[in-house]
Structure formats: structure tokens, C-alpha cells
Symmetry: C2
Subunit: 345 residues, 2 copies
Amino acid sequence: MKITWILLLLTLLPGWADAAEKENMSRAQATFKPIPVHPPAIKGNKATKAKVDLGMKLFFDPRLSTSQLISCNTCHNVGLGGADLQETSVGHGWQKGPRNAPTVFNAVYNVAQFWDGRAKDLQTQAKGPVQASVEMNSNPELVVRTLKNIPGYPPLFEAAFPGSRDPVTFDNMAKAIEVFEATLVTPNAPFDRFLNGETGALNTREQAGLRIFIDKGCAACHGGINVGGAGYYPFGVREVPTAEVRPEADTGRFKVTNTASDKYVFRAPSLRNVAITQPYFHSGKVWSLRDAVVVMGSAQLGTTLNETEVNDTVAFLKSLTGKQPKVGYPLLPPSSDQTPHPQLK
Amino acid sequence: MKITWILLLLTLLPGWADAAEKENMSRAQATFKPIPVHPPAIKGNKATKAKVDLGMKLFFDPRLSTSQLISCNTCHNVGLGGADLQETSVGHGWQKGPRNAPTVFNAVYNVAQFWDGRAKDLQTQAKGPVQASVEMNSNPELVVRTLKNIPGYPPLFEAAFPGSRDPVTFDNMAKAIEVFEATLVTPNAPFDRFLNGETGALNTREQAGLRIFIDKGCAACHGGINVGGAGYYPFGVREVPTAEVRPEADTGRFKVTNTASDKYVFRAPSLRNVAITQPYFHSGKVWSLRDAVVVMGSAQLGTTLNETEVNDTVAFLKSLTGKQPKVGYPLLPPSSDQTPHPQLK
């Protein structure tokens, strides 16, 4: 009977629903920002077509790894939401890395890179996995020697870094990858259209989830353009998650700053495309978005979300899946007799 | 002095050079065929847009492997000439496979697939690596369960196999991959243009190499549309190669037919794009094309090619690099809560 009355009221007074949507929209607009359709400029690293094209080749080139099997795209698969669907990434020698690979999509809008923010930008980030022994296991000297001995690369570096006397460098590799990665943005999610003022872009359930997301406090850490990615917060501020979800040995940002208050502090991940980039958390131990929402409710908000609240929040989070970037698989310059051979050990 | 005289004669009598090129062209046209610009039809497996698109997604989807890390493209990288630049391919658990990965490009024109021809077509081939424990390490049951539990796939299979009551099958996976792989052809190599009657498509050195290639007998095994790939021949017919290049334990086609005369018999590989798909032979132990030509001279022809002959042959082989296919990286349907998780063990 109650529902019938509400439906009747809504029919008689459609202005009420409209007003509620507008109010919800205004609150959202004060907390979040839509993803711009065009990729952002990088300070000190101008994106030219030559540089973006070079960065795309490097992003897909497994010869940046010593095995010549692992590329940036291995863990940041552009066909899979810019991530790898693994608990924690698998690298050189089938070693399992320490943390879940964050998506590369929209990463340019994060305040810093990696779960602990130890790289200030994508350029710095790009150099990490290339050298990590559990990831690509290479080093700057080998990378540069490899690239210089793939005859197609030096002219591409010259075109991307005109006027440079020695354009094939580890730094320039990272710069090219950075401007390519900056193109990997996912605008036009239903939530972006809502933020841009399109009524009806979110359905009733998604709007209810948005309200919960703001009212319960999720948006305090997950706000801004990336719905997260903008600041550092302790994981387990209200209730410590299980040791599986928050392994004791990984103290997060404490390892970067060596400051006691940074123990188990992580950069709040962006929730953009979260519905297609499972599993969740830095441990990658939670596979379902529902479960992840429940964990966040207890760990961060000290609350037990009820069934409807969880469902609505999940519905809202699904509205954060944007238009995925279309990437053409690049033709990579062929190896030559001088190119170093792969090393599997 | 002699060279001066020849140059003088060539200047005075350009007709001679023209006639020589025409004769060379006629002989080539009798032995080889250009790669058609359009992909061939597959008997019993009609290529529709829906099926090719599905096949492309499956080709790039690492979820066909139990680790969810290895896709067809891992060993048949469309950015690297359709191969992987590895001695022998590396698969599940970082295991090294037994043989060098043949390129997928133009494979549709091979008489059969694998080095020993044990798969009669690409459809049969596609099922092999998916199940091989050293490659993708999966099985038909798990593949079908995975695909059925990635919500985006069933509708794509329905569109690709209309009217089928149960379209998501291991067979249909292979059929879709086959029609996609059939699009991976590389027409318009300089040699194709020469075969199509374009004078000057091959320079003097490349033409000299072509003459050697026919006169010395290379073309006897490496003829037809794929400059090879059409028949089975013993490796080491005149002189047994080193045990590194032809490992004793790998008896080739003998393992398929159990016939004594098939010991160390292999399908002659296609030499299309050979200059960009090193290393060479089923063992992958030879990295330079020069060295590979020398090995073939002694092993198959019982001859020691001189410096000029090797150089000219290599120049000719480089003219077999065709226009590489442009492939857009496909967006893969997202996993769901029901999708099986990756298994790394």
C-alpha cells in the first residue's frame, strides 16, 4: 500500500522527483568532476604526435623487459580496463609481485602513482616496473642498448625529441610512455553525463547509490575527477581488515616516508572503471565489488551497510565505467642482428 | 677492368638488363605466387564480420589460459611479425616450450600447421596451445565455463554462430579464431610486386638473390605462395646440422606419423617476413638470417655459399617482408563475479 501511495504521489507531483535529482546533481557537482574528453597536457613534457606514437610502441614493446616477453600492456592491458585481472601482477620468471596493478586508465589524473604514491608522475612510474626484478627485470643501460640496436627506434626518438643530441635515453623512454598513457582516459561514463547536467543519465538506483556514497562519507576519500586517487588515507581507520585483505607486512606509505602515522596508509584508488578492474585493494584479495563495498563500510566508515545500501552503491559504482580508449595495436620496429637476445633467467 | 666493361655494355645495351629482369620474373612467376590482397575463404567456416570480430577478441584474450596471462598474441605478437622473438616460446609457469613459434601471418596459406604439420588447419591448431601444459595450460571445459561466465561473450558467439542452440563451444572458439587469423596476411612485399610484373620492384642485388634461390635449389622446398609452408622435408638431407640447431630428441614429423622416413622431417617454414621473425629453425638456435642461409646451404644443398651468394640471398629474403596487418586492440568483455579466477600453479 505504501508503495502504491508513493507511486501515486510521484505521478501527481513529478516536480518532486525532478527536484531531488537536481539536488543530487548539485551535490555531486560540488564533490566530483567529469573526465575531460581530451587528454590533459603534461607540464614539461609536451605531447606531439611523434612522441605519443613512440610512447604507444614502447608501451606495447616486450623488449623493454629482459625476457622480451613482458610489456607495460601485460599488466595494464588496454583491452581489460587498463589492468590485468590478477590478484597481484605476475612478472619475470612467473614471480608474483607484491601489489595489485592499478589501472593505467585516467592514471594521469592521480595525485601520484603506485599504491603508496612513491612516483610523483607517470614518467617516474614508467621507470619502476621496467627495473623491478619481479616485473620486467631490466635496467636503464640494457633498455637503451636494446632500443639503440632496434634500427627503427632511433629515428622515432629523434622525431619525438627533436634537437636532442642523444635522444635514445631511459628518461625519454619514460617521457614518451607518459604522453601516450595520458591519452588513456575514459570520459562519458553515465556518471560523467550526470555531472555534465544530463538528467536521467543515472537511474533511480544509481542515484540512490550516489546519495549513499556522499552521505556515508565514501566521497571524503573518493572525490574529485577520479573519484579517488587524490590523497592518502589509512586503510582500516575504523576497523582493521583481515590479514588477508591487508597483509601485515605491507605497511604502505610508511615504506616511502618512514613516518609512523603513514603505517598502512595508501593512496585512495580511483574508482573510475572499478566494476571492470577486479580484484580489489592493494592485496587483490577481494574479487567481488559487493564484497569490496562491504569491506570499505566496516574498515573505513565503521558501519555495516544493509543489503539495499550495498546494492545501490554497487549500481552507482558501475556508472563510473567510461568509454574505453580505442588503441590500434602498433607495429613494433623489427629486431636486428645487433639487438640483445631475450634472457629468461 | 672487367667490371668497367660490363658497366659500359649495360649502358650501351640497357635492353640486356631488361631482358634479364623479364626472364628472372618469368621464372619466379612459375615458382611462386603473390599473396592476394584479400584474405582467403575458409572451407566450411564462413567469415562474417561478427565471427572475425569475435575471433579477434579471443585471439587477444588472456582468459583462454588458466593463468589469464597468456593469449594467442603472446607468442604470435601482431606487432612483431606474428611471432615472439624467442628461441622457443615461454608459457604457463615460465616453462620453455619445445619449438620456436611460427608466425601466424599468412599461416592460412600453409599446407598444415605446427612444425610437424600435426594440425590440418588453423582451427585445429588453435586448440593446441590452449590445452598444452607448457603454453596456456587450459582445457575445453574450463575455457567454455570461462567464456560463458564473461557476460559479454555469449551474445557475441550467438551473433557469430546464428541459429546455434549452444554457440559457446570450444569448437566455435577455434572457428572464430581461424577466420580472424585468416585476415592476418602480408601482401605487397617488394617480391609480390615483382611477381605482379612490376619491373624495378626488386633491385639488382635482390634479383641476384632470387636467381641464386632458384638455381641453387632453395625454391624446391620454399616455393608457392608462402615461399615454403607447402610440404615436408628432412632437415639435414645433405649434412646433419649441429645438435644445437637440430636437437637429437626432436624427431619432427616422425612423432606424428611414426614412419622411419619421417625422422627429422619438418614442414618447410614459410619464408614470408623471415627477416623480421628471428630466431630461426624449429630450435630457434640461429639468430642471424645470414647464419640461417649458410646452415641451409650446407644442410639441405650440400654446398658452401660464398660471401656474395649469402649477401644476395639475404637481400632477396628481405624483399619478402610484406605490408603488416593493422589490427585494432579489441576491447575485451569484462569479467564478472562468476568468471573463474586465474590459476597460477
